[in-house]
Subunit: 157 residues, 3 copies
Protein backbone atom coordinates (compact mmCIF):
# COMPACT_ATOMS: atom_id res chain seq x y z
CA UNK A 1 0.00 0.00 0.00
CA UNK A 2 1.19 3.49 -0.81
CA UNK A 3 2.63 5.30 2.24
CA UNK A 4 0.33 8.34 2.15
CA UNK A 5 -2.80 6.19 1.83
CA UNK A 6 -1.60 4.03 4.70
CA UNK A 7 -1.14 6.98 7.03
CA UNK A 8 -4.40 8.52 5.95
CA UNK A 9 -6.28 5.29 6.64
CA UNK A 10 -4.76 5.11 10.11
CA UNK A 11 -5.66 8.72 10.87
CA UNK A 12 -9.21 8.10 9.65
CA UNK A 13 -9.65 5.08 11.90
CA UNK A 14 -8.33 6.88 14.96
CA UNK A 15 -10.42 9.96 14.16
CA UNK A 16 -13.53 7.88 13.60
CA UNK A 17 -13.00 6.13 16.92
CA UNK A 18 -13.03 9.31 19.00
CA UNK A 19 -15.88 10.77 16.99
CA UNK A 20 -18.15 7.78 17.58
CA UNK A 21 -17.43 7.91 21.31
CA UNK A 22 -17.55 11.68 21.77
CA UNK A 23 -20.73 12.05 19.70
CA UNK A 24 -22.40 9.30 21.74
CA UNK A 25 -22.69 6.96 18.75
CA UNK A 26 -21.51 4.14 20.97
CA UNK A 27 -23.46 1.41 19.17
CA UNK A 28 -21.25 2.04 16.11
CA UNK A 29 -18.05 1.91 18.12
CA UNK A 30 -17.49 -1.89 18.07
CA UNK A 31 -17.55 -1.88 14.25
CA UNK A 32 -14.12 -0.27 14.28
CA UNK A 33 -12.62 -3.46 15.69
CA UNK A 34 -11.72 -6.71 13.99
CA UNK A 35 -13.49 -9.78 15.34
CA UNK A 36 -11.98 -11.31 17.42
CA UNK A 37 -10.03 -8.38 18.83
CA UNK A 38 -8.43 -7.20 22.03
CA UNK A 39 -9.53 -4.03 23.77
CA UNK A 40 -8.00 -3.25 27.11
CA UNK A 41 -8.04 -0.14 29.27
CA UNK A 42 -5.27 -0.41 31.81
CA UNK A 43 -3.22 1.85 34.03
CA UNK A 44 0.40 2.52 33.17
CA UNK A 45 1.49 0.73 36.33
CA UNK A 46 -0.61 -2.30 35.42
CA UNK A 47 0.67 -2.28 31.85
CA UNK A 48 4.30 -2.07 32.93
CA UNK A 49 3.74 -4.92 35.38
CA UNK A 50 2.56 -7.05 32.45
CA UNK A 51 -0.98 -7.40 33.76
CA UNK A 52 -3.44 -8.65 31.17
CA UNK A 53 -6.61 -7.50 32.89
CA UNK A 54 -7.42 -3.86 33.38
CA UNK A 55 -10.33 -1.52 33.97
CA UNK A 56 -12.16 -2.60 30.83
CA UNK A 57 -11.57 -5.63 28.66
CA UNK A 58 -13.14 -7.16 25.58
CA UNK A 59 -12.06 -9.91 23.20
CA UNK A 60 -14.74 -9.58 20.52
CA UNK A 61 -17.19 -7.17 18.95
CA UNK A 62 -19.93 -8.90 20.90
CA UNK A 63 -18.23 -8.12 24.19
CA UNK A 64 -17.72 -4.50 23.14
CA UNK A 65 -21.39 -4.23 22.24
CA UNK A 66 -22.41 -5.82 25.54
CA UNK A 67 -20.58 -3.05 27.31
CA UNK A 68 -22.48 -0.42 25.34
CA UNK A 69 -25.81 -2.12 26.11
CA UNK A 70 -24.94 -2.19 29.84
CA UNK A 71 -24.15 1.49 29.68
CA UNK A 72 -27.44 2.30 28.00
CA UNK A 73 -29.44 0.34 30.54
CA UNK A 74 -27.57 1.60 33.59
CA UNK A 75 -28.87 4.66 35.34
CA UNK A 76 -26.38 4.58 38.10
CA UNK A 77 -24.08 7.24 36.79
CA UNK A 78 -24.64 10.89 36.04
CA UNK A 79 -24.92 11.54 32.29
CA UNK A 80 -21.74 12.84 30.76
CA UNK A 81 -19.78 13.05 27.54
CA UNK A 82 -16.15 12.97 26.58
CA UNK A 83 -14.11 15.10 24.23
CA UNK A 84 -10.80 13.63 23.08
CA UNK A 85 -7.93 15.30 21.37
CA UNK A 86 -5.26 13.09 19.89
CA UNK A 87 -1.62 14.13 19.93
CA UNK A 88 1.02 12.89 17.55
CA UNK A 89 0.02 9.67 15.79
CA UNK A 90 3.12 7.57 15.15
CA UNK A 91 3.43 4.61 12.85
CA UNK A 92 6.06 2.50 14.59
CA UNK A 93 6.31 -0.45 12.19
CA UNK A 94 4.50 -2.74 9.78
CA UNK A 95 4.33 -6.46 10.56
CA UNK A 96 2.71 -8.23 7.62
CA UNK A 97 -0.83 -6.87 7.35
CA UNK A 98 -0.60 -5.22 10.77
CA UNK A 99 0.41 -1.62 11.47
CA UNK A 100 1.85 -0.94 14.91
CA UNK A 101 0.74 2.55 15.88
CA UNK A 102 0.99 4.72 18.98
CA UNK A 103 -0.72 7.98 19.82
CA UNK A 104 -1.32 10.26 22.80
CA UNK A 105 -4.66 11.51 24.04
CA UNK A 106 -6.19 13.97 26.45
CA UNK A 107 -9.84 13.49 27.30
CA UNK A 108 -12.06 15.98 29.09
CA UNK A 109 -15.37 15.01 30.64
CA UNK A 110 -18.42 17.24 30.32
CA UNK A 111 -21.12 16.62 32.92
CA UNK A 112 -24.79 17.20 32.21
CA UNK A 113 -24.67 20.55 34.03
CA UNK A 114 -21.85 21.71 31.73
CA UNK A 115 -18.96 21.27 34.16
CA UNK A 116 -15.86 20.42 32.14
CA UNK A 117 -12.79 18.82 33.66
CA UNK A 118 -9.65 17.04 32.61
CA UNK A 119 -10.60 13.39 32.89
CA UNK A 120 -7.91 11.17 31.46
CA UNK A 121 -4.63 11.19 29.62
CA UNK A 122 -2.57 8.41 28.19
CA UNK A 123 -1.48 6.44 25.20
CA UNK A 124 -3.17 4.29 22.59
CA UNK A 125 -1.06 1.27 21.65
CA UNK A 126 -2.64 -0.14 18.51
CA UNK A 127 -2.34 -3.09 16.21
CA UNK A 128 -4.30 -2.15 13.12
CA UNK A 129 -5.32 -4.57 10.40
CA UNK A 130 -4.46 -2.84 7.12
CA UNK A 131 -5.27 -5.79 4.84
CA UNK A 132 -8.61 -4.25 3.85
CA UNK A 133 -10.13 -0.77 3.90
CA UNK A 134 -11.45 0.72 6.06
CA UNK A 135 -8.80 -0.39 8.55
CA UNK A 136 -9.83 -2.03 11.82
CA UNK A 137 -8.28 -2.37 15.27
CA UNK A 138 -7.05 -5.87 15.99
CA UNK A 139 -5.77 -4.65 19.33
CA UNK A 140 -6.19 -1.36 21.15
CA UNK A 141 -4.53 -0.91 24.52
CA UNK A 142 -5.55 2.27 26.30
CA UNK A 143 -2.78 2.91 28.78
CA UNK A 144 -3.89 5.47 31.35
CA UNK A 145 -1.36 7.78 32.95
CA UNK A 146 -3.23 7.82 36.24
CA UNK A 147 -4.39 5.06 38.57
CA UNK A 148 -7.12 7.26 39.96
CA UNK A 149 -9.49 6.93 37.08
CA UNK A 150 -10.78 3.42 37.48
CA UNK A 151 -13.90 3.83 39.50
CA UNK A 152 -15.18 6.68 37.37
CA UNK A 153 -14.94 4.89 34.07
CA UNK A 154 -18.23 4.07 32.38
CA UNK A 155 -17.96 5.17 28.75
CA UNK A 156 -15.05 3.54 26.85
CA UNK A 157 -11.99 5.69 26.35
Amino acid sequence: MEATALRLGIHELIGDYVERIDEDRLEEWPDLFADPCRYLVISRAGHEAGMRQGVMYAASRGMLLDRVFSLRRANIYEPHRYRHVIGPIRLKSIEGSMAIVQSHFLCVRIMHDGTTSMFASGRYLDRIDISATPFRFTERLVVLDSDKIDTLLAIPL
Copy 2:
Protein backbone atom coordinates in the same frame (compact mmCIF):
# COMPACT_ATOMS: atom_id res chain seq x y z
CA MET B 1 -7.19 19.05 -6.82
CA GLU B 2 -4.69 16.47 -5.72
CA ALA B 3 -5.69 14.74 -2.46
CA THR B 4 -2.54 15.55 -0.48
CA ALA B 5 -2.65 19.23 -1.44
CA LEU B 6 -6.31 19.36 -0.51
CA ARG B 7 -5.72 17.98 2.98
CA LEU B 8 -2.70 20.15 3.46
CA GLY B 9 -4.65 23.27 2.53
CA ILE B 10 -7.38 22.35 4.99
CA HIS B 11 -4.86 21.75 7.78
CA GLU B 12 -3.19 25.07 7.01
CA LEU B 13 -6.46 26.97 7.22
CA ILE B 14 -7.44 25.36 10.51
CA GLY B 15 -3.95 25.88 11.91
CA ASP B 16 -3.88 29.50 10.78
CA TYR B 17 -7.24 30.10 12.43
CA VAL B 18 -6.13 29.02 15.90
CA GLU B 19 -2.80 30.78 15.53
CA ARG B 20 -4.40 34.14 14.72
CA ILE B 21 -6.71 33.84 17.70
CA ASP B 22 -4.23 32.44 20.20
CA GLU B 23 -1.52 34.93 19.23
CA ASP B 24 -3.98 37.81 19.62
CA ARG B 25 -3.85 38.73 15.92
CA LEU B 26 -7.61 39.06 15.96
CA GLU B 27 -7.77 41.75 13.28
CA GLU B 28 -6.45 39.17 10.79
CA TRP B 29 -8.95 36.55 11.85
CA PRO B 30 -11.87 37.61 9.60
CA ASP B 31 -9.65 37.26 6.50
CA LEU B 32 -9.88 33.49 6.88
CA PHE B 33 -13.57 33.60 6.01
CA ALA B 34 -15.30 33.96 2.65
CA ASP B 35 -17.57 36.98 2.32
CA PRO B 36 -20.46 36.46 2.93
CA CYS B 37 -19.94 33.64 5.40
CA ARG B 38 -21.54 32.05 8.40
CA TYR B 39 -19.83 31.91 11.77
CA LEU B 40 -21.78 30.57 14.67
CA VAL B 41 -20.76 29.55 18.17
CA ILE B 42 -23.51 27.43 19.66
CA SER B 43 -23.97 24.86 22.40
CA ARG B 44 -24.46 21.23 21.49
CA ALA B 45 -27.98 21.33 22.90
CA GLY B 46 -28.79 24.39 20.80
CA HIS B 47 -27.25 22.85 17.70
CA GLU B 48 -29.15 19.59 18.12
CA ALA B 49 -32.38 21.54 18.61
CA GLY B 50 -31.76 23.19 15.22
CA MET B 51 -31.34 26.68 16.64
CA ARG B 52 -29.79 29.13 14.23
CA GLN B 53 -28.65 31.70 16.76
CA GLY B 54 -26.03 30.99 19.34
CA VAL B 55 -23.53 32.69 21.59
CA MET B 56 -21.79 34.46 18.71
CA TYR B 57 -22.95 34.96 15.19
CA ALA B 58 -21.67 36.67 12.06
CA ALA B 59 -22.73 36.59 8.42
CA SER B 60 -19.90 38.59 6.84
CA ARG B 61 -16.29 39.60 7.31
CA GLY B 62 -17.56 43.03 8.36
CA MET B 63 -19.54 41.52 11.21
CA LEU B 64 -16.55 39.45 12.28
CA LEU B 65 -14.39 42.55 12.29
CA ASP B 66 -16.99 44.48 14.24
CA ARG B 67 -16.76 41.88 16.95
CA VAL B 68 -12.99 42.30 17.11
CA PHE B 69 -13.34 46.10 17.32
CA SER B 70 -15.85 45.75 20.16
CA LEU B 71 -13.43 43.48 21.98
CA ARG B 72 -10.58 45.94 21.57
CA ARG B 73 -12.67 48.84 22.88
CA ALA B 74 -14.23 46.96 25.75
CA ASN B 75 -12.48 47.04 29.08
CA ILE B 76 -15.12 45.17 30.91
CA TYR B 77 -13.40 41.81 30.98
CA GLU B 78 -10.13 40.73 32.49
CA PRO B 79 -7.40 40.31 29.86
CA HIS B 80 -6.86 36.72 28.83
CA ARG B 81 -5.63 34.52 26.02
CA TYR B 82 -6.59 31.17 24.61
CA ARG B 83 -4.55 28.18 23.58
CA HIS B 84 -6.25 25.68 21.30
CA VAL B 85 -5.22 22.20 20.37
CA ILE B 86 -7.01 20.55 17.51
CA GLY B 87 -7.76 16.84 17.54
CA PRO B 88 -8.33 14.71 14.49
CA ILE B 89 -9.23 16.74 11.39
CA ARG B 90 -11.62 14.75 9.22
CA LEU B 91 -12.55 15.44 5.64
CA LYS B 92 -16.10 14.13 5.45
CA SER B 93 -16.95 14.86 1.82
CA ILE B 94 -16.50 17.20 -1.11
CA GLU B 95 -19.55 18.97 -2.53
CA GLY B 96 -18.50 20.83 -5.66
CA SER B 97 -15.98 23.46 -4.56
CA MET B 98 -16.82 22.93 -0.89
CA ALA B 99 -15.03 20.62 1.53
CA ILE B 100 -17.08 19.39 4.48
CA VAL B 101 -14.69 19.05 7.40
CA GLN B 102 -15.00 18.25 11.09
CA SER B 103 -12.47 18.54 13.87
CA HIS B 104 -12.29 18.48 17.66
CA PHE B 105 -10.77 21.10 19.90
CA LEU B 106 -9.76 21.73 23.49
CA CYS B 107 -9.14 25.31 24.48
CA VAL B 108 -7.50 26.48 27.68
CA ARG B 109 -7.76 30.05 28.93
CA ILE B 110 -4.77 31.86 30.39
CA MET B 111 -5.62 34.82 32.60
CA HIS B 112 -3.35 37.82 32.92
CA ASP B 113 -2.03 36.53 36.26
CA GLY B 114 -1.01 33.27 34.60
CA THR B 115 -3.85 31.09 35.87
CA THR B 116 -4.54 28.43 33.26
CA SER B 117 -7.78 26.46 33.11
CA MET B 118 -9.70 24.26 30.75
CA PHE B 119 -12.10 26.66 29.11
CA ALA B 120 -13.94 25.01 26.26
CA SER B 121 -14.19 21.83 24.25
CA GLY B 122 -16.19 20.96 21.22
CA ARG B 123 -16.33 20.46 17.49
CA TYR B 124 -15.71 22.59 14.45
CA LEU B 125 -18.18 21.82 11.65
CA ASP B 126 -16.78 23.51 8.57
CA ARG B 127 -17.70 24.20 5.00
CA ILE B 128 -14.48 25.26 3.33
CA ASP B 129 -14.26 26.90 -0.08
CA ILE B 130 -11.50 25.04 -1.93
CA SER B 131 -11.99 26.77 -5.29
CA ALA B 132 -8.98 29.04 -4.71
CA THR B 133 -5.91 28.98 -2.47
CA PRO B 134 -5.54 29.77 0.31
CA PHE B 135 -8.81 28.10 1.29
CA ARG B 136 -11.44 30.07 3.21
CA PHE B 137 -14.28 29.18 5.59
CA THR B 138 -17.69 29.59 4.03
CA GLU B 139 -19.24 28.31 7.21
CA ARG B 140 -17.74 27.51 10.59
CA LEU B 141 -20.01 26.17 13.32
CA VAL B 142 -18.34 25.98 16.71
CA VAL B 143 -20.40 23.47 18.65
CA LEU B 144 -19.58 23.70 22.34
CA ASP B 145 -19.85 20.63 24.54
CA SER B 146 -20.95 22.66 27.53
CA ASP B 147 -23.79 25.11 28.06
CA LYS B 148 -21.91 26.82 30.84
CA ILE B 149 -19.57 28.80 28.70
CA ASP B 150 -21.83 31.46 27.28
CA THR B 151 -21.44 34.33 29.64
CA LEU B 152 -17.66 34.07 29.72
CA LEU B 153 -17.16 34.22 26.00
CA ALA B 154 -15.46 37.35 24.68
CA ILE B 155 -12.71 36.25 22.29
CA PRO B 156 -13.94 34.12 19.38
CA LEU B 157 -13.35 30.40 19.69
Copy 3:
Protein backbone atom coordinates in the same frame (compact mmCIF):
# COMPACT_ATOMS: atom_id res chain seq x y z
CA MET C 1 13.25 16.93 -0.58
CA GLU C 2 9.79 15.85 -1.54
CA ALA C 3 7.08 17.82 0.30
CA THR C 4 5.28 14.86 1.87
CA ALA C 5 8.52 13.32 3.15
CA LEU C 6 9.53 16.68 4.57
CA ARG C 7 6.32 17.09 6.55
CA LEU C 8 6.41 13.50 7.67
CA GLY C 9 9.95 13.88 8.97
CA ILE C 10 8.97 17.00 10.90
CA HIS C 11 5.94 15.28 12.43
CA GLU C 12 8.10 12.30 13.38
CA LEU C 13 10.65 14.49 15.15
CA ILE C 14 8.01 16.41 17.08
CA GLY C 15 6.19 13.19 17.95
CA ASP C 16 9.39 11.50 19.05
CA TYR C 17 10.23 14.48 21.25
CA VAL C 18 7.03 14.29 23.31
CA GLU C 19 7.17 10.51 23.46
CA ARG C 20 10.68 10.48 24.92
CA ILE C 21 9.68 13.01 27.56
CA ASP C 22 6.26 11.62 28.41
CA GLU C 23 7.52 8.03 28.59
CA ASP C 24 10.34 9.11 30.89
CA ARG C 25 13.06 8.20 28.37
CA LEU C 26 14.78 11.47 29.21
CA GLU C 27 18.31 10.20 28.56
CA GLU C 28 17.35 9.81 24.88
CA TRP C 29 15.87 13.27 24.65
CA PRO C 30 19.08 15.22 23.89
CA ASP C 31 19.71 13.03 20.83
CA LEU C 32 16.89 14.84 19.05
CA PHE C 33 18.93 18.03 19.00
CA ALA C 34 21.79 19.06 16.75
CA ASP C 35 25.05 19.85 18.52
CA PRO C 36 25.51 22.74 19.20
CA CYS C 37 21.86 23.70 19.54
CA ARG C 38 19.65 26.14 21.36
CA TYR C 39 16.92 25.01 23.74
CA LEU C 40 15.08 27.66 25.66
CA VAL C 41 11.94 27.53 27.79
CA ILE C 42 10.67 31.07 28.24
CA SER C 43 7.46 32.86 29.12
CA ARG C 44 5.55 34.70 26.43
CA ALA C 45 6.23 37.99 28.17
CA GLY C 46 9.96 37.23 28.30
CA HIS C 47 10.01 36.14 24.68
CA GLU C 48 8.18 39.24 23.49
CA ALA C 49 10.59 41.40 25.48
CA GLY C 50 13.45 39.79 23.56
CA MET C 51 14.99 38.14 26.61
CA ARG C 52 17.50 35.45 25.78
CA GLN C 53 17.44 33.64 29.10
CA GLY C 54 14.39 31.83 30.37
CA VAL C 55 13.34 29.12 32.75
CA MET C 56 15.57 26.50 31.13
CA TYR C 57 18.40 26.96 28.72
CA ALA C 58 20.91 24.73 26.93
CA ALA C 59 23.36 25.33 24.09
CA SER C 60 24.56 21.77 23.47
CA ARG C 61 23.59 18.13 23.86
CA GLY C 62 25.95 17.98 26.82
CA MET C 63 24.04 20.70 28.61
CA LEU C 64 20.74 18.98 27.85
CA LEU C 65 22.09 15.74 29.26
CA ASP C 66 23.41 17.51 32.34
CA ARG C 67 19.88 18.66 33.04
CA VAL C 68 18.60 15.11 32.82
CA PHE C 69 21.33 13.86 35.16
CA SER C 70 20.44 16.60 37.67
CA LEU C 71 16.83 15.56 37.50
CA ARG C 72 17.67 11.91 38.11
CA ARG C 73 19.83 12.74 41.11
CA ALA C 74 17.47 15.25 42.66
CA ASN C 75 14.96 14.03 45.15
CA ILE C 76 13.61 17.38 46.01
CA TYR C 77 10.48 17.22 43.90
CA GLU C 78 7.53 14.87 44.00
CA PRO C 79 7.65 12.29 41.18
CA HIS C 80 5.45 13.18 38.24
CA ARG C 81 4.99 12.67 34.53
CA TYR C 82 3.77 14.77 31.65
CA ARG C 83 1.41 14.04 28.84
CA HIS C 84 1.60 16.37 25.84
CA VAL C 85 -0.78 16.79 22.99
CA ILE C 86 0.38 18.78 20.02
CA GLY C 87 -2.01 21.00 18.09
CA PRO C 88 -1.55 22.08 14.50
CA ILE C 89 2.04 21.70 13.28
CA ARG C 90 2.79 24.45 10.78
CA LEU C 91 5.72 24.60 8.40
CA LYS C 92 6.31 28.34 8.08
CA SER C 93 9.25 28.40 5.66
CA ILE C 94 12.41 26.70 4.49
CA GLU C 95 15.71 28.56 4.84
CA GLY C 96 18.43 26.49 3.17
CA SER C 97 18.66 23.25 5.12
CA MET C 98 16.53 24.64 7.93
CA ALA C 99 12.76 24.25 8.33
CA ILE C 100 11.02 26.93 10.38
CA VAL C 101 8.15 25.22 12.19
CA GLN C 102 5.59 26.25 14.79
CA SER C 103 3.20 24.13 16.80
CA HIS C 104 0.91 24.42 19.83
CA PHE C 105 0.91 22.20 22.88
CA LEU C 106 -1.07 21.43 25.98
CA CYS C 107 0.68 19.48 28.70
CA VAL C 108 -0.97 17.86 31.70
CA ARG C 109 0.96 16.75 34.74
CA ILE C 110 0.23 13.45 36.47
CA MET C 111 1.45 13.24 40.05
CA HIS C 112 2.50 9.98 41.64
CA ASP C 113 -0.86 9.68 43.42
CA GLY C 114 -2.66 9.94 40.07
CA THR C 115 -3.81 13.54 40.35
CA THR C 116 -3.95 15.00 36.84
CA SER C 117 -3.99 18.72 36.14
CA MET C 118 -3.46 21.12 33.29
CA PHE C 119 0.16 22.10 33.67
CA ALA C 120 1.35 24.16 30.73
CA SER C 121 0.31 25.49 27.36
CA GLY C 122 2.22 27.32 24.71
CA ARG C 123 4.04 27.23 21.43
CA TYR C 124 7.06 25.46 20.06
CA LEU C 125 9.10 27.69 17.76
CA ASP C 126 11.51 25.39 15.95
CA ARG C 127 14.43 25.55 13.59
CA ILE C 128 14.84 22.01 12.31
CA ASP C 129 17.87 20.76 10.41
CA ILE C 130 16.50 18.84 7.44
CA SER C 131 19.84 18.20 5.74
CA ALA C 132 19.95 14.61 6.99
CA THR C 133 17.41 12.10 8.29
CA PRO C 134 16.24 11.74 10.95
CA PHE C 135 15.78 15.49 11.35
CA ARG C 136 17.14 17.26 14.41
CA PHE C 137 16.29 20.45 16.31
CA THR C 138 18.84 23.20 15.81
CA GLU C 139 16.70 25.48 17.92
CA ARG C 140 13.61 24.82 19.99
CA LEU C 141 12.00 27.72 21.83
CA VAL C 142 9.27 26.66 24.22
CA VAL C 143 7.17 29.78 24.71
CA LEU C 144 4.89 29.35 27.72
CA ASP C 145 1.54 31.11 27.83
CA SER C 146 1.73 31.59 31.57
CA ASP C 147 4.32 33.22 33.83
CA LYS C 148 3.20 31.12 36.75
CA ILE C 149 4.91 27.96 35.74
CA ASP C 150 8.55 28.72 36.45
CA THR C 151 9.06 27.41 39.93
CA LEU C 152 7.33 24.12 39.21
CA LEU C 153 9.38 23.19 36.19
CA ALA C 154 11.70 20.22 36.61
CA ILE C 155 11.19 17.93 33.60
CA PRO C 156 11.82 19.62 30.23
CA LEU C 157 8.74 20.66 28.31
